[in-house]
């Protein structure tokens, strides 16, 4: 329970948390008192009122009972309020703290945690913990108090029956324990089967075109049915166990009552040490204690889950950012934009902080201010890794990356990134409006500026056709825009801060070549002083670059302009011809294009 305790200690610093905690538990103890006072009063009513024929006692005790019942309810309702309030507040604090921490992690940390993992910690882990805190605050601490007090009350009023009470509670504990022992793994099993069934459904839905094209609807149904039936049988098992547990708990209570009548009756008749009132209230004490016991028993496994959850949360919370700010980091107010890789070697770190196989080796590369550098290479050749070293998404292993001669690691991270416009490979938009997305890197961007930028990114056309143009709604993750549209808006977003260095990571892969050509022409036009890095798989993307770098297995295999490379590099020529055909063919085409009378030439293909 170290995680839970650590959290509770931390939580005391949250304003109001300590007060809520103390008040809720005081209320719960008060509730315990009222809960147990009622049977006590019944005993008095029976033994001193009814048995003695004292009407005043009957009247008075009933009145007090009613008052206590109401008081108990009021106190408990207040306790419920404080418990709920505390739990909700904790969940909020955890979410906010965790989210803030995630914002400070660097790419390496993010890779290792991976997205769905982080989301799970922020949602279901936080939720599990919150729910447990609420239940624990409401049931857990008062549980043992009430149980002990109930036993004590029986001990004081009718010591002869206390063993019946303890025995009944012990049997309950054993029954619950056995149940928990077997039910846990069964529920895990059910979850596993459920996942299998859901996976078939998921694959069926996302592959619906393939399923229909091959007319495999029946086959899919059979496949689903197999998992479905296994799930039915698996899910039945814990329910059947419950079918044993539930009646067992009832029967234990009933037998406890029976034993009370037997033992109590025997003691009353043979020895006269137990009164009718005492026998009667025994049942009430027993029921009260058993309910608490069952509640606590349900909660214990939940506590174990909450501990696991809070530890997963702490794991993120305690993570140090891989790329940190140097203690003597300096500002970098203005740059010209010369980027140099000096003998750079880089490998990704694993979870233990160990650097793995280098994915980049001995990279030496200079981009002069205003140059367009294209990086070409197959998947996994290290293209994205290379450009990620510029904004310090990762730090180099050996060598250094400099901007205008300054090692990027010596610069304040925010300053460094303010000079770089970076359109990531995965073009994600965020919910909000179109302009919100364009403005992300520079909030003061005006509508006019946004429009000008969007024109360069060839996004103005489709944006202007939207109902509310730049104020139009963007759905979560930009789901209401096509891949090509997202890419173009993501380019606009990168341009908005008027960066000196622009990085486009495969940012035109989903648009057709004509559009890409327009975008590139626009870029060359407005961003003359901007150093550009363009990562691509498509040869037509890189043709216009001042410098093309061909990466193969983490090393620079060739470097130069298109005109140079087509002569000097076999690798480059091979890629070129595989995608665009031989140069002779191109020559013929252009000859034909030249012959064509100009009036026949149709306008662009937009």
């Amino acid at each position: 329970m170290t995680g839970i305790f650590r959290f509770l200690k931390l939580s005391l610093t949250i304003p109001g948390a300590k007060k809520a905690l103390v008040i809720s538990q005081l209320l719960m103890v008060a509730y315990a008192f009222f809960l147990l006072a009622v049977p006590w009063l019944i005993r008095i009513l029976i033994d001193e009122g009814i048995q003695e024929g004292d009407a005043d006692v009957i009247l008075g005790t009933s009145a007090i009972m009613a008052a206590f019942a109401v008081a108990g309810a009021v106190v408990a309702v207040a306790g419920a309020y404080y418990s709920a309030r505390m739990g909700a507040r904790f969940a909020h604090e955890i979410r906010v703290a965790l989210y803030e921490r995630i914002g400070r992690l660097s790419f390496g940390n993010l890779d290792r945690f991976n997205t769905s993992d982080l989301i799970v910690r922020l949602t279901s882990d936080t939720n599990i913990f919150k729910q447990t805190i609420i239940y624990a605050s409401f049931y857990l601490i008062r549980g043992p108090v009430i149980i002990v007090a109930a036993i004590f009350a029986v001990f004081v009023t009718s010591p002869g029956l206390v063993w019946v009470m303890i025995a009944t509670l012990l049997v309950t504990v054993i029954v619950m324990f056995v149940y928990a022992r077997y039910a846990g793994p069964m529920f895990t099993d059910v979850q596993l089967r459920l996942d299998t069934v859901n996976q078939v459904l998921q694959e069926n839905l996302s592959g619906v075109r393939t399923v229909k094209a091959f007319v495999r609807e029946e086959h899919e149904t059979e496949r689903y049915d197999a998992g479905n039936d296994t799930l039915r049988l698996t899910a039945r098992r814990p329910l059947r166990l419950l079918a044993v547990l539930q009646p067992s708990i009832f029967v234990v209570y009933f037998l406890g009552m029976t034993a009370a009548l037997a033992v109590g009756g025997y003691l009353a008749i043979e020895r006269g040490t137990v009164s009718v009132g005492e026998i009667t209230v025994f049942g009430a004490y027993l029921a009260t204690a058993m309910i608490q016991l069952v509640n606590v028993a349900w909660l214990l496994p939940e506590l174990a889950k909450a501990e696991a959850s809070i530890n997963r949360i702490f794991e993120v919370y305690d993570t140090e950012a891989e790329v940190g700010e140097a203690p003597d980091s300096r500002p970098l107010p203005e740059i010209r934009g010369r980027v140099a890789f000096e003998n750079v070697t880089f490998g990704y770190r694993d979870a233990d902080g160990q650097t793995g196989e280098p994915v980049l080796r001995n990279i030496n590369l200079v981009a002069e201010p205003g140059e367009m550098v294209a990086i070409l290479g197959a998947t996994g050749s290290g293209k994205t890794t290379l450009i990620n070293l510029i904004p310090r998404s990762y730090d180099v292993g050996e060598g250094r990356v400099t901007i205008d001669g300054v090692d990027v690691r010596e610069v304040q991270i925010d300053e460094l990134r303010s000079h770089i416009g970076y359109a990531l490979q995965q073009a994600i938009l965020f919910s909000g409006s179109v302009i919100d997305n364009i403005r992300m890197g520079r909030p003061e961007t005006t509508y006019d500026e946004a429009e000008a930028i969007a024109r360069v990114a060839d996004a103005h056309g489709f944006v202007s056709r939207l109902h509310d143009t730049y104020d139009d709604r963007v759905a979560r993750e930009g789901a209401n825009f096509s891949g090509g549209q997202r890419q173009r808006l993501s380019i606009a977003r990168a341009l908005a801060p008027r960066p000196k260095i622009l990085i486009l990571d495969d940012s035109t892969s989903a648009v057709d070549v004509a559009t890409e050509t327009r975008i590139q022409a626009g870029l060359l036009d407005v961003a003359k002083d901007t150093t550009m890095f363009i990562v691509a798989q498509r040869i037509s993307t890189v043709l216009v670059a001042d410098k093309i770098v061909v990466l193969r297995d983490g090393e620079i295999a060739a470097e130069g302009s298109h005109v140079e490379l087509i002569e000097s590099s076999d690798l480059y020529r091979e890629i070129y011809e595989s995608q665009l055909g031989t140069l002779d063919e191109a020559r013929d085409l252009f000859a034909m294009a030249a012959e064509r009378p100009s009036e026949e030439r149709p306008e662009g293909v937009s």
């Binding site: 009622v38 029976i46 048995q51 009613a66 206590f68 019942a69 408990a76 309702v77 909020h92 979410r95 995630i102 993010l110 982080l118 989301i119 279901s124 919150k130 979850q191 859901n198 459904l201 839905l205 094209a213 007319v215 609807e217 149904t221 039915r232 899910a235 039945r236 814990p238 419950l242 539930q246 009646p247 029967v251 009933f254 009548l261 037997a262 009756g265 009353a268 043979e270 209230v281 049942g283 009430a284 070409l376 998947t379 050749s381 998404s393 979560r476 993750e477 096509s482 891949g483 057709d512 070549v513 004509a514 050509t517 798989q537 037509s540 890629i575 055909g581 191109a586 085409l589 293909v605």
Partner: protein, 628 residues
């Protein structure tokens, strides 16, 4: 006594890439209003799944009655023991009562056991039936249904709704049965013993009902609000975590943090309220129950004082009142579960009531092997009414021809291939295969003659063999391997651990993109279609894989009528004819060379990818070099 089941974690869902053709976003986002059927009807329909086995259902109800009667007997016997034996000092008689109580306990055990056990069977059978029906029905729905909502959303909706129904069937029904009969039995027993005391105990029931109903309704509303708040919070969180790298690249953390905090705080308030309302029913019910107990004391005391009842009767009623709080708090607990199950099942039934998609004409003939002539005759088509995508498309493709489909994004390439397999029905015109309208034949047999290789390979998390055999289920291992050889996939499959028995991960993530494509080509090869439809993946820089893919595709297309959304030069040049599309209209059609000679729309489209000016410069440079 409460029963809780751990919540089910939801799996991360793989989003599907949006289709090539732009589909109106608002249409995607908003599903049609559900036809309003009352909650009660939905509830009855849900319960009807449970009561399909009449015999078992009858036994369950009978067992519930037995359990309730035996349970009610316990406090009655308890009172009897005090009145008739302890008060009269008759120890031997007392043993008889004790024996009877033990017997009643045993009967209660058996009754509840039988009831819960059979209910577990019925509940899981009902869940099985429901899931099966749903899955089978989903198979019959047309792609228009899928276009209406993102697959991920549909998936999580189905999963969550089914889970809510499951919670109710697995836990809720049992509590409701148990509680209902228990209240009835206790009431009967109480009236049999003393109507005055019975009334004193039962006075509180309306109060409990009121509190339960009020708190239940308020909590229900609060949970709905919380779900909305959490939906917004989690949505924002998911997209900013998924796009965290972008957030960081734009130093957007502070802004995102502010919005997140605001959303989280809204969720906190909802959380507080929902949980508070959820918690308060139990102590409120117990509190009211205790007021009832005080009433028993008062009325019982007065009655005993007047010698109308004996002290044991009061004791018995103390037990009755206590025992009555169990079913009452059970019902208050289950109330929300019922509401959620009704909401969930309404949505599930909505899907079940969705009209099946494209239907064959009655007595439509099967389509046998075809030569592969394909005609489009004046085809007009729109995905969404009012937004026409294809205009008067007319062309003829001869058997065995390979047709390349070209055109800018959104020109209608994907739409054309969607229509050939009859994924959608057209608005006007006709599509014919071997001069037979595809709308006159059984669509399954039409699809049996066509084969599809999609742009994004669909891989099932099963063995490689399974994935290939998907093309023809009756194929032998040998035939599958032969197909893999045709697809150039055999070599890499051999090198996988376990070869063809290698189990693929979800989405085929343990294979490279190129390898996944080779497997889908093998699948199509195995199905040996007469008409092949191919949405090529864009070519990559990995020239080795590229060659394998090109070869495989060309082999596959040989001798079959093929439609290819072409990205590869080799495919384009080898095509018998190219259909150049623009804005949903056929601009040009003919072989590559012919279209190039024509120097029209296609010529320009083709030229675009060369970055003409640059190449001209280069060619000029080469020419200069060539001159002495």
């Amino acid at each position: 006594m409460s029963t809780k089941t751990p919540p089910t974690g939801s799996k991360e869902l793989v989003p599907t890439p949006p289709p090539d053709e732009p589909i109106d976003g608002t249409f995607l986002a908003e599903a049609a209003e559900p036809p309003s059927s009352s909650d009660w009807d939905t509830f009855k329909r849900l319960v009807s799944y449970l009561t399909r086995h009449r015999g078992k259902t009858a036994v369950v109800v009978f067992a519930a009655i037995v359990f309730s009667m035996a349970s009610a007997a316990i406090p009655a016997l308890f009172g009897l023991g005090i009145n008739e034996y302890i008060e009269k000092n008759d120890l031997n008689g007392l043993w008889g009562v004790v024996g009877a109580m033990a017997a009643a306990s045993a009967v209660a055990f058996v009754g509840l056991f039988v009831m819960t056990w059979l209910l577990a069977d019925l509940a899981q059978q009902a869940m099985y039936d429901l899931r099966k029906e749903l899955f089978e029905h989903i198979q019959t729905l047309s792609l228009r249904f899928y276009d209406r909502q993102p697959i991920g959303e549909l998936m999580s909706r189905v999963v969550n709704d089914i889970e809510m129904i499951n919670q109710f069937l697995a836990n809720g029904i049992s509590s409701i049965l148990q509680a209902t009969f228990m209240i009835l039995a206790l009431t009967a027993a109480m009236f049999a013993i003393s109507w005055q005391l019975a009334l004193a105990v039962l006075v509180v029931i309306p109060a409990v009902a009121l509190v339960t109903l009020w708190a239940g309704r308020a909590a229900g509303a609060a949970y709905t609000e919380l779900a909305q708040n959490l939906g917004e919070l989690n949505g924002y969180m998911e997209e900013t975590i998924t796009g965290q790298k972008t957030v960081q690249a734009y130093r957007f953390q502070t802004t995102a943090q502010r919005r997140f905090e605001r959303l989280s705080d809204a969720a906190r308030k909802g959380d507080e309220r929902a949980n508070y309302l959820g918690l308060l029913t139990e102590p409120a019910t117990i509190g009211i129950g205790n007021v009832g107990l005080a009433l028993v004391g008062l009325v019982g005391g007065w009655l005993a004082f007047k010698n109308i009842v004996m002290v044991g009767t009061v004791a018995a009623f103390v037990g009755f009142a206590r025992q009555l709080t169990f079913p009452l708090s059970d019902i208050s607990r289950v109330y929300n579960m019922v509401l959620q199950a009704v909401t969930g099942s309404r949505r599930v039934f909505e899907i079940l009531d969705e009209e099946p998609g494209i239907q064959d004409e009655p007595d439509a003939p099967a389509l046998g092997t075809v030569a592969g002539k394909v005609d489009f005759d004046g085809v007009d088509f729109s995905y969404v009414p009012g937004k026409q995508v294809l205009f008067d498309n007319t062309f003829t493709v001869e058997p065995g021809q390979m047709i390349g489909l070209c055109g800018p994004t959104g020109a209608g390439k994907s739409t054309i291939i969607n229509l050939i397999t009859r994924f959608y029905d057209i608005q006007s015109g006709d599509i014919e295969v071997d001069d037979q309208s595809i709308y006159d034949v059984q669509k399954d047999t039409l699809r049996g003659r066509t084969g599809v290789v999609p742009q994004f390979p669909v891989i099932f998390s099963e063995t490689v063999m399974y994935n290939i055999r998907y093309g023809r289920l009756a194929a032998t291992d040998k035939e599958c391997v032969a197909a893999a050889k045709v697809a150039n996939a055999h070599t890499f499959i051999e090198r996988l651990p376990g070869g063809y028995d290698f189990v693929l991960e979800e989405g085929g993530s343990n294979l490279s993109q190129g390898q996944r494509q080779l497997i889908t080509i093998a699948r199509a090869a195995l199905s040996d279609p007469d008409v092949l439809i191919l949405d090529e993946a864009t070519s990559s820089v990995d020239t080795r894989t590229e060659k394998l893919l090109q070869e495989a595709l060309l082999t596959l297309m040989k001798g079959r009528t093929s439609f290819v959304i072409a990205h590869r030069l080799s495919t384009i040049r080898d095509a018998h004819a190219i259909i150049a599309l623009d804005g949903g209209r056929v601009e040009e059609m003919g072989p590559h060379d012919e279209l190039i000679q024509k120097r029209g729309f296609y010529f320009d489209l083709y030229l675009k990818q060369f970055k003409r000016e640059l190449l001209e410069e280069q060619l000029a440079a080469e020419d200069e070099e060539a001159q002495p």
